[in-house]
Amino acid sequence: MNAMEHTTAQNCPLYRLAHARTGDKGDRSNISVIAYHAALYPLLDQQLTEAAVAAVFASRRPAAVTRYLLPKLGAMNFVLDRVLDGGVNDALNLDAHGKALAFMLLQAPIEVPAHLQHLLLQDQAGNPPAMP
């Protein structure tokens, strides 16, 4: 484990705190985010706001971003309107369903205070893992 991690708050990519999965329906993307640990969930609640997610996907100009909280599951669900270039039949993206959007979101920075950093995902050598 990196000794630096225990002294001060640090910005970490979301993928060290949570996993995520995308679904789609029409031109609407649906991204679930599930915390790896219950103690990390409040950080997501505070920092992974609708505005923060809208900023991640700014280049797609979402018509709306709505967050639904599922605190008992340590999870949240985002619904993003009009971000799929018309949807699976209309988009020219190789990833027409937008399945990769969860991985785009997992790069978002989250500030993690020192006392929670031992809960962050790390590889066997104690280093931050590569993007899953």
């Binding site: 329906k25 029409g26 031109d27 280049s59 797609r60 270039d85 018309g86 039949n89 209309d90 993206n93």
Partner: protein, 109 residues
């Protein structure tokens, strides 16, 4: 990308720089335009993909014809050209009055 845009202004094209910006990008190219050009320039394993859709098949086929010569000519860095033209069927979501839809089920033995 610039050559295709200049020569085929009638087509709305999507570009992917696979290896730099691709599935995270959008059809309009906003994500690509906002990506740090230094980061794009530092990518060493990149393949260009161009895509378009058009109601008229022969108009869509213009993009394929435009890149066809890359089989034997032009820059070799892309590793040759592969083209594919296929028909598309689109669907759009809409909302109906509940009374306009009859629902029900039956068991089949």
């Amino acid at each position: 990308m610039q050559v295709l845009q200049q020569r085929l202004p009638q087509l709305k094209m999507r570009f992917d720089l696979i290896g730099a910006v691709s599935v995270f990008g959008d059809d309009a190219g906003s994500a690509l335009a906002q990506t740090d050009p230094v980061r794009v320039a530092q990518a060493t394993d990149v393949r260009l993909r161009a895509a378009c859709a058009h109601a008229d098949k022969s108009t869509a086929a213009m993009l394929l014809r435009e890149v066809n010569a890359l089989y034997t000519c032009g820059p070799a860095g892309g590793g040759g050209v592969r083209t594919h033209l296929r028909s598309r069927l689109n669907a759009v979501s809409c909302v109906l009055e509940r009374t306009a839809v009859t629902t029900g089920f039956s068991f089949v033995e």
